[in-house]
Amino acid sequence: MTAKLRILLPQLLVLAIVVGLGAYLIHNTLDNLARQGVATGFAYLDREAAFEIGEKLIPYTSADSYGRALLVGLANTLEVGVLGCILATILGLIVGVARMSRNWLIRHIAALYIQAIRNVPLLLQLFVWWDLFRVSAPPPRQAWQIMPGFFLSNRGLTIPLPSFEGGFHWDIPHLAGFNFAGGHIVTPEFAALLIGLVIYTAAFIAEIVRAGIEGVSKGQTEAALALGLKPRQALFLIVLPQARRIILPPLITDYQALIKNSSLAVAIGFPELMAITNTTLNNTGQAIEAISLMMIIYLGLSLITSALLNWYNARLALKGMAR
């Protein structure tokens, strides 16, 4: 028996046990479900969903399938996820730099923000934002008009959209019956979720940014200043580009957390992936299938985020130092 085999054998054994246990569980589950007369399989995805969705980026009616409804939910999750990551990065960068400011007030405000936001549960923060938008704004008929077409009410903020039907014109929102029609509406649920996620995640990103800046040798700043660069130029041209290599890897975790945290939207009624899955699960009763599908999708989103940033990170790595 070679040494190689001796090392390999225990590993193969463990793998076999894990796979075997997994197979047993799956088999036993299917067996029990069949015995209890519970339908299994993914055929439900083609059935008519027969429920309406409040906010959708892709065309959908209640006559479409459960599969399509799931896509609507995924699109909403991606919308919040992508916008959230971009905005949280910008805010986190500002707060992180402010945290190291030589100005006492700015430095301490940033520190207070980071400590307060990081230590209050996100769900609670979402409720606060939601209540704020919902309760402080007037009903639609007394909506505040900020600019022509921009109405703020407890139904959300309306925005005119360009339209190309029958020649270019602006699709201006207007009051029609109970609600506003035309244009786009940013609902209190979407706004609360996006703002809540951005503010929460930015607090974590700010600390990563601070660690990144502190990780760049002080000599770099001193050298830059000695060459006649202004402090701001030293920060943006010399320190931050080097800090990026330190910031990027931990940033991946925060992006993934933001995307996963978006599932808290079920509590405030934004129809993202988790909310749509809940409704599907209840209407069809296919709990195991629906939950598995959701797990796979979230796993996929996390892996894609990770892959994209790792690729970018590899590009940034110092040549010759990259492993």
Binding site: G37, V38, I53, G54, N282, T284, A287
Partner: protein, 339 residues
């Protein structure tokens, strides 16, 4: 996330559940001396914990009646609060013995989920509530409205069907917890709040800032027969739950109440004699003691008493008997003969 975790635990329980569980619920309940029922996280009149943490409601009394029939004591019950999403998995996995959680009897829930429904303990229908100042008189005027609805209920699908059938559009605001649905509606985020009419009445009486500011529209959007649910393939247990409901309805029809049940034992009516075990045989057929129905009526009450106490004239909800009156009084409550 808490819910997802619970669900995951329930799924794991399904995965690990030992093979072949058909039939043993009645034996298990007798052996453990407790009936475990899935209830709501709080719906006035149906199942809600009071200040002392004691559960009350029409669904709770249904569970208590089963415990009275099987164990001779309605207090030998345990209540597990379940969200709308968790409830079916909890029953499938055997975590609860009966689901008494204002659950609507539908075809797919029996066909696909592997359940059986007992006779309804409340015939409900879906309704719409609006603020009085909106000036809406009919649900047919709700075109374009934003409607608040709780997720994971038949209500959500019925809402869509109703608007589709009437060629109207709407925007749903679907929220997981009933409290938050109510907050959203009473703060004006939605034009209408849709739920079972009994639930709307309970919400208006208990949660509205001023109950007189809200009206429940006359249209009934769907049939909602609410009933206790058990697993398929356990016929003895199903029979016990089913006949517990019938015994309560038959008792009301025969005028047997918790007050007069002892005198009624002397009744000459053969059906009352069979029901109360004066003439033995019925209990044995159900694998129960001969005083099964006597204990239900003595300790929990007949259907009328349970209705009045929890949702009817003696409760805060003050709902009419309506469809839930006895068949002899124009309602749908019809107990099969005990013989």
């Amino acid at each position: 996330m808490i819910k997802a975790t619970t669900l995951a635990v329930a799924l794991v329980m399904v995965a690990f559940a030992g093979p072949a569980l058909a039939g043993p619920t009645l034996d298990k309940v007798k052996k453990n001396g407790v009936v475990t029922c899935g209830v709501t996280t709080g719906l006035a009149g149906f199942s809600i914990p009071d200040r002392q943490g004691k559960y009350t409601g029409i669904d709770v009394d249904t569970c208590r009646a089963v415990a009275a029939a099987v164990l001779g004591d309605p207090d030998k019950t345990k209540y597990v609060p379940a969200t709308t999403q968790q409830r079916f998995t909890m029953l499938q996995s055997g975590e609860i013995d009966i689901l008494t959680r204002n659950t609507t009897w539908t075809l797919t829930r029996e066909g696909d989920l592997g359940f059986l429904f007992a006779p309804p303990n409340y015939y409900d229908g879906q309704g719409f509530m609006v603020a009085k100042k909106a000036g809406v008189k009919s649900a047919k005027e709700l075109d374009g409205a934003t409607v608040c609805v709780q997720s994971g209920t038949t209500t959500e699908s019925n809402l869509t069907d109703y608007f589709r059938a009437n060629k109207m559009t709407f925007k749903p605001l679907v929220i997981e917890r009933l409290d938050e649905v109510e907050n959203a509606f009473y703060s004006g985020r939605c034009d209408s709040f849709t739920a079972d009419r009994s639930g709307l009445a309970a919400s208006r009486a208990g949660k509205a800032p001023n109950p007189d500011d809200y009206v429940i529209l006359p249209e009934i959007a769907s049939k909602e027969p609410l009933a206790a649910v058990v697993r398929q393939g356990d016929d003895e247990w199903f029979e016990v739950v089913r006949w517990t409901m019938f015994a309560m309805i038959d008792a009301e029809e025969k005028g047997v109440t918790s007050q007069n049940v002892d005198e009624m034992k002397k009744s000459d009516d053969p059906e009352i004699q069979r029901m109360l075990g004066v003439k033995p045989g019925m209990g044995k057929s159900l694998h129960l003691g001969e005083d099964w129905a006597y204990t239900i009526i003595k300790r929990v009450g007949n259907y009328g008493e349970i209705f009045d106490r929890n949702v009817g004239k003696d409760s805060a909800l003050k709902l009419d008997r309506g469809l839930n009156a006895l068949w002899t009084q124009g309602g749908l409550m019809y107990g099969m003969p005990i013989r």
